[in-house]
């Protein structure tokens, strides 16, 4: 029993390491070859996990083989447009300038009902509001609404909002983020002064952030939650 337990930990670490090398993608955004490899890696890892008669290397080597294939295909995809269309396919325009492309719909084997379902998934309930609907290679759908139907943006009212930038985490779980402090050209002394206004020191904070307009958000750690 302990053997299986240890094997599962070893294989889990290996799969984690391999997924990490494969790169950052969410499941819903995987290309077909990436999805195939992810499923196969999961299956390959479970075989030696459950059967102690199979050497663990019989799980490790095929997983490494799949990693090599994934890296190789990614590399080829980066270098060649043609290879990209072979391995990943091309996006398909299902609705072009407000009109449903029946031929493409049939080619992608998508029914009208499924199209409507996917539009609703993109918060579009009326087909007539859609200018373009693009089926991406990952299977997700991108919807571009007609100008008069899309959400208003400040530009529509001739408003030019101030630049906001991104918020930076300065303290997470009591740990001071010195990298982010140096990015915003501040130091620990400045941070301590800021958190003093909230009655705490940086190490007592659950989170401290600063946004583009230099506004600080600070929350103290809840001692009861620790």
């Amino acid at each position: 029993m302990l053997i299986i337990f240890i094997r599962s930990i070893i294989l889990y670490i290996l799969v984690l390491f391999v997924m990490r090398i494969m790169g950052k993608r969410q499941i819903g955004q995987l290309q077909p070859f990436e999805l195939a490899i992810s499923i196969m890696i999961a299956d390959l890892a479970t075989i030696p996990m459950a059967d102690v008669g199979i050497p663990i290397i019989n799980g490790i080597v095929p997983i490494l083989g799949l990693l090599v294939m994934q890296l190789l295909i990614s590399f080829i995809n980066m270098k060649s447009l043609k290879a990209r269309s072979i391995f990943s396919g091309k996006p398909a325009i299902l609705i072009y300038r407000g009109k449903i492309d029946e031929k493409t719909l049939k080619k992608e084997r998508i029914t009208i009902n499924e199209l409507q379902e996917r539009l609703r998934g993109n918060n579009v309930v009326n087909l007539a509001d859609v200018e373009y609907a693009i089926l991406e290679t990952s299977g997700q759908m991108t919807v571009i609404q007609k100008p008069e139907k899309r959400n208003a943006v400040p530009q529509d009212f001739n408003i030019v909002p101030e630049y906001e930038g991104i918020p930076y985490d300065l303290v997470i779980d009591g740990q001071v983020m010195y990298d982010n402090l140096s990015i915003i050209k501040k130091d620990y002394k400045w941070l301590k002064n800021q958190t003093k206004k909230f009655g705490i020191i940086p190490e007592e904070a659950l989170i401290v952030t600063i946004d583009g307009s230099d506004k600080i958000f600070c929350q103290k750690k809840d001692k009861k939650a620790e």
Binding site: I21, V52, G53, I54, P55, I57, N58, V61, L64, G65, L67, V68, L71, L72, S74, F75, M78
Partner: protein, 129 residues
């Protein structure tokens, strides 16, 4: 980009070199087993078999196999290795009862299993497909 090529190269080199080393090891162990089996078989085929010698040699052979078993188990399926163990255990019984015919048959089976294990680890189209 470079990182990808480096990782791919490292994995290739690792797998290929491991394959060469492990193949050499299994070859060495099997060849040693074949020569020991042959020695025992020669003795068993004689008119006047010295069963003490056979007993001693078969015990030494088993000890050698068990000493190599742990390393072999790292890369060969245990069920395959256990087949050899079963044959060696059976051999002890046949030698104890001084049964030449069964002992020789048992040794031949052992050779077949070892050849099968070696064959399985060889890079062949048959093994790939």
């Amino acid at each position: 980009m470079k990182r990808i090529l480096v990782v791919i190269s490292i994995i290739f080199v690792l797998v290929i070199s491991m394959n060469i080393v492990l193949k050499k090891h299994i070859g060495k162990v099997c060849n040693e087993m074949y020569s020991r089996i042959d020695e025992i078989k020669q003795e068993l085929m004689k008119e006047e078999t010295d069963f003490e010698k056979v007993r001693s040699n078969s015990q030494k052979m088993e000890d050698y196999w068990m000493s190599q078993y742990d390393v072999l188990a790292y890369y060969i399926e245990h069920s395959e290795l256990d087949k050899v163990n079963i044959q060696l255990a059976g051999l002890q019984g046949y030698v104890a009862t001084e049964d030449n015919h069964e002992s020789v048959a048992n040794l031949d089976t052992c050779v077949f299993i070892l050849q099968h294990i070696q064959d399985r680890e060889t890079l062949k189209l048959r093994n790939i497909f």
